[in-house]
Point group: C2
Chain length 188, copies 2
DNA sequence: CTTGACTATGTCTGTTCTGACATAGTGATG
DNA sequence: CATCACTATGTCAGAACAGACATAGTCAAG
C-alpha cells in the first residue's frame, strides 16, 4: 500500500524529476501549502517507491560523500497516481487546528491578551496570502488567454492556489472578526 | 511537556467533567470539527495528565469489567490550560489536505471523473455546513441579546463555529468553482 | 581565512496517531 | 431469543512524523 506521502512524491515527480533534496524543498513551497514532509521522511519513502518500481533514478556525482540521485516516475508510477487521483478520499479528514483549539478555550483567558494573539495571526496570514498571490500572478502570466487547460500541470497549481487564496482571505476575515469581538466586549 | 492532545483534553474537561469514553465522543463532535482523537489515544493521555496531577477522577461501578472514571480538572490543570491558551502557536502548522493534493494532480485525470469527485465533495461539505449551522443556532438561542460574553464557554463554541461555517462556505464555493472549471474546459 | 548558507544523502530516536484486539453489561430491534 | 448498538475501559502493533545526528563539497560575505 502506498501512503499519502508516497502519492505526494509521485505528484511532484509527475511534474518534474527531482532529487530527494529538491522534493523536500518543494514540500515546503509550493506543495507545502497543503502538504509537507521533512527529508528524514522523504528518503525512506523514495526507497519504498523504488522497491515498488513506481520511481526510478539516474545517479551522478554529488556534493557530499554519496551519489546524487535524480528520481523520475516509471509508467507504473504514473498509472498509480492517475488511479489514486479520482478516488474519493476517506471521510476521516480530521484536521487538527491548534489555533481553533485555543479559540475554543479563549473564555479562560484575558481578552486583551487574546486580542494580541489573534492580531499576530492576522499578520501571519496576510504574509502567506501575499505569497500565494505572487504565485498566482506567476501562473496567470503564463496563460494570458484565460485559465490554463485542465490537462496542463499549471491547472493543478492554479486550482490549489485559488483555494489557498480564498482560504487565507476567509481566515483573515475571521481573525479580524475575533479581534473585534474581543475588543467590543471589554469595558470602555 | 504536555502534548496538544493533552491540552485538547484539558479544554474539554474545563467545560464538563467526563469519562474517557465521553471525551472520545466529544472529540468527534463538536470538538472534532478542529481536533480529533480515538479512545486508544485518550486513555494513555489521561494517565499522563493524571501523573502530572493536572486532572483527577472519581470512580464508580462501570458497565464493563472495569470501573467508570469521571475525570475533572485540578487547579493546576486549569492554570496550565490558562497559560497555554495565549501562547503563540508554532509557525509549523503544516496542514495536510488530501483533496488539495488530488487537485494538484488533477491534470493527470479525466475531467468528467474529476467533476464527479468534486461534486461528491460539495455534498459532503454541505452536510457538514448544515451541522455547524444547527449548532450555531443552538448557541445563539441561549444568548438572544447579542453574542455570548467572552468569559462564557459558549463564546468558545460561538467563535469556532463561526470559523467552521465560514470555512465550509469558502470550501463549497471553491469546489463549485472547480466543477465549473472542469465542465467549461470539456468540448461541447 | 573563518563562518555560514546551500546542495545533497542518509540514519536514528522518540512521539503521535490509527486500527484492531479484548472484555462485559444494558437496552432496543427484529 | 439472537443480534446489534451503546456505554465503558484498557492494551498493542505498526504507521506516520518531527527533530536531531552525521558527512562533505562549493560559494559568498565579512
Amino acid at each position: 500500500m502506498i501512503s499519502k506521502l508516497g502519492y505526494a512524491i509521485l505528484a511532484m515527480l509527475a511534474r518534474q524529476p527531482s532529487t530527494g533534496y529538491e522534493l523536500s524543498a518543494r514540500s515546503r513551497r509550493p506543495i507545502g501549502y497543503f502538504w509537507s514532509a521533512r527529508h528524514g521522511q522523504i528518503y525512506p519513502e523514495l526507497r519504498k517507491l523504488l522497491d515498488a518500481e513506481l520511481v526510478r533514478f539516474s545517479a551522478g556525482p554529488g556534493p557530499g560523500p554519496r551519489e546524487k540521485k535524480v528520481y523520475s516516475l516509471t509508467e507504473t508510477g504514473l498509472e498509480a497516481l492517475h488511479e489514486w487521483v479520482l478516488q474519493d478520499p476517506a471521510p476521516a479528514e480530521s484536521g487538527r487546528d491548534e489555533l481553533l483549539l485555543k479559540a475554543y478555550s479563549i473564555w479562560t483567558a484575558d481578552p486583551a491578551g487574546a486580542q494580541e494573539l489573534f492580531a499576530g495571526q492576522v499578520r501571519r496570514h496576510q504574509d502567506r496570502l501575499a505569497e500565494y498571490e505572487a504565485d498566482w500572478e506567476l501562473v496567470e502570466s503564463r496563460h494570458q488567454d484565460g485559465p490554463p487547460p485542465v490537462s496542463d500541470p499549471d491547472f493543478g497549481s492554479y486550482a490549489t492556489l485559488r483555494c489557498g487564496i480564498d482560504y487565507e482571505c476567509q481566515r483573515i476575515a475571521w481573525l479580524t472578526w475575533m479581534c473585534q469581538q474581543l475588543a467590543g466586549h471589554r469595558p470602555g
